[in-house]
Amino acid sequence: MKFVTDIKNTRQEEKQQTTKVYETKDLNLWYGNTHALKNVNFPIYEQEVTAIIGPSGCGKSTFLKTLNRMVELVPSVHTSGTIEYRGENILAPDFMVEDLRTKVGMVFQKPNPFPKSIYDNIAYGPRIHGIKDRKILDEIVETSLRGAAIWNEVKDRLKENAYGMSGGQQQRLCIARALAIEPDVILMDEPTSALDPKSTLKVEELIQELKKDFSIVIVTHNMQQAARISDRTAFMLNGELIEYDYTDDIFQHPKDERTEDYITGRFG
């Protein structure tokens, strides 16, 4: 398939060399009685982009939100199995979620800046962690916005409300906001689905850039996107992880019939 870029092929050789950030074992998750994740075993590797694809309702977002335990905002949720983040089981009852979420940033489908100034959006995270020094904050804001490739567009309007920005800018602002607390992993749930093609391109480029410093997990309904930007791809169906491999392999030689059916557009 032509949309898998050449650069990717070079990666075939690196197989299994990177360390794992996450190790998910036998993860099951229920919303009340709905069994939304079924025996998911899913390692996530450092400094890679891991894409999760699958038809609507298959559990992509649910899995992603389990990685920073945001899924618990739904009160009826309960889980079994373990998710180890850097060796620690984050599903343990005494695990401090605030700590986890400080290390694992998240970017949502719809850009969700706070109704504050651009500056305050970025400074929000550092501030709750006790950073008050204006100089340091200024520095963090600039670094983060640069990191999210949006500094030049907004540097003259840092005091303006974030809702004055375009959707694509808002999304990059949200990425910058996540960067500001220097996470280890960034989770992204269909970060470009609400954006126009141009903004999508910008965000995709940004993701490629960020990979150098962060591990990225991205949910997307757009197979081309997964193919374009990810190192590994997971295909989920009905709450199960059907297949998980290097992106090139998944798209070129899917092992499971269902994966193939999905990729070739026979359902979903």
């Binding site: 009160p75 969700n112 706070f114 109704p115 929000y124």
Partner: protein
């Protein structure tokens, strides 16, 4: 299709029946025109009510100021409407009104706000489903019942701790009024807070915030205009509340800041004078309108202010 025959036979019939009926139904056209007119007239009754209120208040207030100077009314600290040498200073009433409302807000503000925070940010669905109706119950209790409660329970209770407190005082009704207003502040603030999109909460939580930080750094700022409007409406309600103060604060027209003493509010004055059967034509009768007018203007301004705040300072998201 077998059904088809049947259908086509009836086709002719139903179509023509509709056609026939249509020609007969001029009534339909008339009602179609008449209904909006009738409804408009009904809708205008609300305007008529306002005009009625304003007209009644203004004309009689005008007569009052023919007899008592504006300056005396608005700057006088002595209110002795019945004495041989009557004095009509409204300041004792305004003072009483402000003090009782301030006490009420002192209770209802923080407790209402904390209740709103709890219900909107912390409570489980189940807890909310139980607590909200209970609070609504609190809001639905007639004020006369609160007045009775303030007079027969709260005052005697407080006097155990403040023996020098008068049997009729502004503190007890103020506190009880606060309790009455809690649901209003809580539910309006909760509305404002829960209408902040969940995406905002998620965004903040995902950055490692605690719920408390989400609430105070994101949700409350985003819902601020709604919350302020809730407070303003709460004040307006306190200012307009009548029976609680009328029963529990007596009718002394003291100009004092001692909340253990009896004071009169504007509303309680109206109740006293109207209930004491002021005879039409007397100055004291007209004073009723002047006080009511002041009250009306005050609450009207508060309501306009609340709406202005809610609209003008809405955070954009």
């Amino acid at each position: 299709m077998i059904e088809n025959n049947k259908e086509s036979t009836s086709t002719v019939r139903v179509k023509s029946m509709i056609e026939q009926n249509r020609q007969r139904q001029s009534f339909r056209a008339v009602s179609e025109k008449a209904v909006p007119t009738v409804l408009l007239v009904i809708a205008l009754i609300s305007i008529l009510t306002t005009i009625g209120i304003v007209f009644v208040l203004i004309t009689e207030t005008f007569e009052f100021f023919n007899r008592v100077s504006l300056v005396e009314f608005f700057t006088g600290t002595v209110l002795r409407p019945l004495s041989q040498d009557p004095k009509f200073g409204i300041l004792p009433l305004i003072n009483g009104t402000i003090i009782s409302s301030a006490i009420a807000m002192f209770v209802a503000g923080p407790i209402g706000m904390m209740t709103a925070i709890y219900l909107s940010e912390y409570a489980s669905d189940k807890a909310r489903r139980v607590l909200k109706p209970v609070l609504e119950l609190l809001a639905g209790i007639p004020t006369i019942v609160y007045g009775f409660f303030a007079f027969t329970f709260v005052t005697p209770f407080l006097r155990q701790f403040i023996p020098e407190m008068s049997a009729t005082n502004i503190l007890a009704p103020g506190l009880v009024m606060g309790v009455m207003i809690i649901p209003m502040i809580a539910s309006l603030s909760e509305d404002a807070m829960s209408s902040v999109p969940n995406a905002m909460r998620e965004g903040a939580l995902a950055l490692g915030s605690t719920k408390l930080e989400v609430t105070f750094k994101v949700i409350i700022p985003a819902a601020f205009s709604g919350i302020v409007a809730a407070f303003v409406l709460g004040i307006s309600r306190a200012v307009g509340e009548t029976m609680i103060v009328a029963i529990a604060s007596g009718s002394s027209k003291n100009f004092t800041f001692d909340i253990t003493q009896s004071m009169q509010t504007m509303t309680a004055y109206v109740v006293e004078v109207a209930g004491g059967d002021a005879s039409p034509g007397s100055t004291i009768y007209y004073s009723l309108y002047a006080v009511a007018m002041t009250l009306f203007m005050f609450t009207l301004l508060m309501n306009i202010l609340a709406r202005y705040i809610a609209r003008r300072f809405r955070e954009e998201y």
